[in-house]
């Protein structure tokens, strides 16, 4: 049922897009029609080079998300649980969040060189700050009764974290992860566009300046959008599974 309505929506959007192309509202040199896009994507699939770009971009995003989770989730939980720490670092984290992550790219380029590590470094900076901020703030806002109650029943600190705090944090972790993923996608693609990546979807977009292959550009943009959708849908599924007590 849900799929049916979504499909109708997508189909209508593509139809309107095709009609706009037919009416030549925009100059056809810069505006690819759905038909051209489909034809181009078949060509790209047969050529195969796009898969290298796609794999590398997804790899960079995945590495960023995994490493930032390993650092950001425990930090966020610690800051949120020990409300006293949160009071000290809350403003600092908020300040760091206000810095557009991309501005530290030049610095990382100097320190780490133009390879993947500087790209992933920027994504890590952005994602970790977002994870820490959302998770710690979420836990900080949580009513303390359940924690206090379980402590009064005799649970020690470790048991409290394992049995209560971790689960109270989980819904916030899922929200934070979704934000971190979209941020990582933006940062990875943008840094690919900026400096020295040989492969990657960002590089592919950037190359259009040389090749002027507009349909290729359109397909690449759509692929980047689909990566976001894929990550997002996976996380939503995971959220329903892991945070089952909330949806009920």
């Amino acid at each position: 049922m849900k799929y049916k309505t979504s499909l109708i929506g997508i189909f209508s959007a593509v139809t309107i897009w095709q009609i706009i192309a037919w009416l030549k509202i925009f100059n056809p040199i810069y505006f690819a029609s759905p038909y051209e896009v489909i034809a181009e994507s078949i060509k790209m699939i047969q050529g195969g080079a796009v898969f290298i770009d796609l794999t590398l971009t997804i790899y960079r995003i995945a590495v960023s998300v995994i490493i930032s989770s390993l650092i950001g989730i425990p930090l966020g939980i610690a800051f949120g649980y020990f409300a006293r720490i949160y009071k000290y670092v809350g403003e600092i984290v908020d300040f760091l969040r206000s810095i557009p992550p991309i501005v530290i790219y030049p610095l990382l380029l100097i320190v780490l060189g133009p390879g993947d590590s500087s790209r992933i470094g920027v994504a890590l900076f952005g994602s970790i700050v977002v994870l820490v901020l959302i998770i710690s703030n979420g836990l900080f806002q949580q009513a303390p009764l359940r924690r206090q109650y379980f402590a009064s029943l005799g649970a020690n600190k470790v048991q409290l974290v394992n049995h209560i705090v971790w689960y109270e944090a989980l819904p916030h972790v899922m929200v934070a992860l979704r934000t971190a993923v979209s941020l990582s996608i933006i940062i990875i693609v943008v840094t690919e566009m900026l400096v020295g990546a040989q492969y990657g979807l960002g590089t592919r977009v950037q190359n259009v300046q040389i090749t002027s292959n507009i349909p290729d550009l359109f397909v690449t943009i759509i692929i980047i959008g689909l990566i976001g959708v894929l990550f997002n849908k996976t996380l939503i599924c995971l959220d329903k599974k892991l945070v089952f007590w909330k949806s009920n």
Partner: protein
């Protein structure tokens, strides 16, 4: 023994301090079974929160003797862990007190048979009705063989049949050494479980208006007759 001396408790709400207790005293002897009776908002739950250590924001001295203090909170929704099954919720507290889980399972099975619980404890708390959750919370309060038991309106959501079953059950499990504090609105329900009743009243502060001990009566019936008259309506109590 439980000793509350010169207890002061304020709540800060709407920009002003509201004083609930200011110099409240109460002594409860070891193995006493005491009922706290008071109308809504008199501070029964607040008192139990303080005794159990859930609420640490108070002045005065509160000392409570006991190796294992068990507290059944009034809000069962907020004090059960929705991410664990009911059985796990119940048995978990034994772990906190280094008591065997296998023995706990056997004990729980006995409890379930005695009260004739007709729903599965493999469910998660959010799948249960309010009354069923209250039963789970009661079982959790009893599963780790406490020596002090604090019960906050333990039967408020139970139907008459389950209430009777639980009162029979508790009569059996209120062993000689167990100290009990139980909050309630009505004396007639819990009279057989108690040997002392304290009636509280909140005017500008909460204080004790009546303290009835079973030892002062000739017979158990006489005591229970008095206790069963305790009940609260909208405007104060009649006794």
């Amino acid at each position: 023994m439980i000793e509350i001396k010169n207890l002061k408790k304020k709540f800060f709400c709407n920009g002003s301090n509201k004083s609930l207790f200011s110099g409240f005293d109460l002594v409860i002897r070891k193995s006493e079974k005491i009922g706290l009776f008071a109308p809504n908002g008199s501070g029964k739950s607040t008192l139990l929160n303080i005794l159990a250590g859930v609420d640490k924001d108070f002045a005065g001295t509160v000392s409570i003797e006991g190796k294992r203090i068990s507290y059944m909170h009034q809000d069962t929704n907020a004090t059960l862990a929705p991410w664990f099954t009911c059985e796990k919720n119940i048995l978990l507290v034994r772990k906190y007190h280094h008591l065997g889980i296998e023995k706990g399972k056997a004990l729980l099975k006995r409890f379930v048979n005695e009260i004739e619980i007709n729903f599965s404890l493999d469910q998660y708390p959010f799948m249960l009705s309010g009354g069923q959750r209250q039963i789970v919370a009661l079982l959790r309060a009893l599963i780790f063989e406490p020596d002090v038991l604090l019960l906050d309106e333990p039967f408020s959501a139970l139907d008459i049949e389950k209430r009777a079953a639980f009162i029979e059950f508790l009569t059996k499990h209120f062993t000689n050494n167990l100290t009990v504090i139980m909050c309630s609105h009505r004396g007639d329900e819990v009279k057989s479980l108690l040997d002392r009743a304290v009636i509280l009243e909140h005017q500008s502060e909460t204080r004790i208006t009546m303290d009835i001990c079973r030892s002062k009566f000739h017979s158990k019936q006489e005591f229970e007759q008095i206790i069963s008259k305790i009940r609260f309506k909208k405007n104060g109590h009649e006794i």
